[in-house]
Symmetry: C2
Subunit: 334 residues, 2 copies
């Protein structure tokens, strides 16, 4: 029985999967002999970089918007995001005919602003900073009657991300593979909490492991101390999708209970993973999306349990220059 | 009946397919709603970027080496290549236990030299230039008793590349797709000649179209004049896989007879295609591999025949910096 504080029941997960069917892609589960050779163990890659909108965030966004429509809530939506969540909400809203506003800091990359606009959303940047953006969005939401879609601390968003576990299970089963662990990036915790909940149902006995950059190790610290830790300063990392100061409170409730562990990686390990995925596997994976692979490249034994592993490549929204700069700053060994 | 000058009979193609089974990947045939929307017609992508060794060249290299072994020819092999053919020969030779030498110009990219060495081949660069490299290899071959594997003007290599057409046909059939045309990069002509021969058998009625950079339009000129044209100077293009001065003579015999047309693209179109494949489809495709898509992005109507199209993404061996530099030189419109 899940604790009473948990945000979701199994039925919520089932409904999310039903809602998402036909709305988001079943992304490929990739396998590379080259990677297995390099790591000395079999690793599968769940390529959410090929997801609609370029990241797993489409799962949570579509589920949140579809669930609201089912309830008769047709309010326009607003999201705070300088990245993948903004694109996902813009995409889902556009497809469902819901007006969407995305609040992004004034110094956001023009490419990311353009991507959100390309999905038809209104972008608000004037006077928005990394500090005040949540407040700007909350003010706009209450002033204009908009529904705020949180990037991770929302049961519907978590339930959407949980669909990844069921999908993964259905792809592993015909291969006869029961992995020892599934590794995924950990930022606000929506993906990891979703995986924990989904795995409990669809991948019983499989460890769920979060991966953070060293400078954004609030999840690892929280797990070690048994309480939600907030970072004193914004993390400095190329993994721009996990620059959160702390886990969402709902996510934390699940993760503290169910996640097996949280690993951290250096920026050099991250650069090497991006480089390796690019040059060897020909996959465009954004730095955040390469965290799980980064945790294994230099020491595949960090997951002590023997057996196969799954790394979630969480997204692919980056520019060629981001990868080349990251690699130039941390030249890979091979 | 093929003309008597043709290098290959249907039986040669069948044997090549049989030899390659289990040796090279069946690469994915990808489809993107986003690309269809952009082009206003349905386009499939045959992703040879995911082929072993990172390009279609593995097909020809494995076929040439396996056929020689069948004939009892166990000589070490030598290849001239600064790129994909060298990697493919090195990979095939290593797997088949044949010593391999690859002759590369002294100014070759250290990454490409390292890639060939990583497959276990001996690399010769001392005193080698872009001009004398063929001669260096021929001298070494006769002096040391090595078997020279030509990158395109070899019937066995062409027969290996032809396997792409049969594979494509087997992937299109369950989808009920009979494309109007298959577009592929044109350099020395091994891939295009192979496609022409394979399509005649497996994709009857489907046009085979070559795509060249504007500065490397010897194929287009040859087809227009009805005779093999040699460029006066080395092409200046980011598509480093097609910087040949003329088609191979064997390839030309097939292409003059069977290719529907040859299109040319600007460097800006090429940059836009690489950018688009990277940022939208999250695929690492080297500039040469993006030629076919480049020919359609700005004017999908260049293939006048109505219906679906297939673009061959011929390879993915490039560095993040190559893509970011190309894009910086030719900033894409969107």
């Amino acid at each position: 029985m899940p604790p009473a504080t948990w945000p979701l029941a199994p039925d919520d997960l089932l409904r999310a999967r039903q809602r998402l069917e036909g709305r988001v892609h079943h992304t490929p589960l990739l396998h590379s002999r080259l990677l297995d050779l390099r790591l000395g163990r079999r690793v599968f890659l769940k390529a959410e970089s090929f997801q609609r909108g370029g990241s797993f965030k489409a799962r949570g966004a579509f589920n949140a918007l579809l669930a609201a429509l089912e309830e008769g809530d047709t309010r326009p939506v607003i999201a705070v995001s300088s990245g993948n969540h903004g694109q996902a909400v813009a995409l889902a809203a556009s497809e469902l005919g819901i007006p969407a506003t995305v609040v992004m800091p004034e110094d956001s990359s023009p490419v990311k602003v353009a991507a959100v606009r390309a999905y038809g959303a209104r972008v608000v940047t004037e006077g928005v900073t990394g500090i005040n953006r949540e407040q700007v969005a909350a003010d706009m939401a209450s002033r204009l009657g908009l529904r705020l879609v949180h990037p991770h601390n929302d049961p519907l968003v978590i339930a959407g991300q949980a669909s990844l576990a069921a999908e993964l299970s259905s792809q592993l089963e015909p291969l006869g593979v029961r992995p020892a662990a599934v590794l995924a990036p950990l930022g606000g915790g929506g993906l990891l909490a979703g995986l924990c909940l989904g795995a409990a149902e669809h991948l019983p006995g499989v460890q769920v492991v979060g991966v953070e950059p060293e400078s954004a190790d609030d999840g690892a610290q929280s797990l070690a101390r048994g309480e939600l830790v907030t970072l004193a300063r914004p993390p400095v990392t190329a993994a721009d999708g996990v620059r959160t100061l702390h886990l969402g409170s709902l996510c934390w409730e699940v993760i503290r209970e169910r996640a097996a562990s949280v690993l951290t990686v250096t920026e050099a390990e991250l650069a090497e993973a991006c480089w390796w995925l690019f040059t060897r596997l020909k996959l465009v994976v954004e730095p955040t999306g390469a965290l799980a692979v980064a945790s294994l490249l230099r020491d595949p034994g960090r997951i002590a349990a023997g057996g196969d592993l799954v790394c979630v490549l969480s997204g692919g929204n980056c520019l060629p220059s981001q990868i080349s700069q990251l690699v130039a700053e941390h030249p890979p060994n091979d």
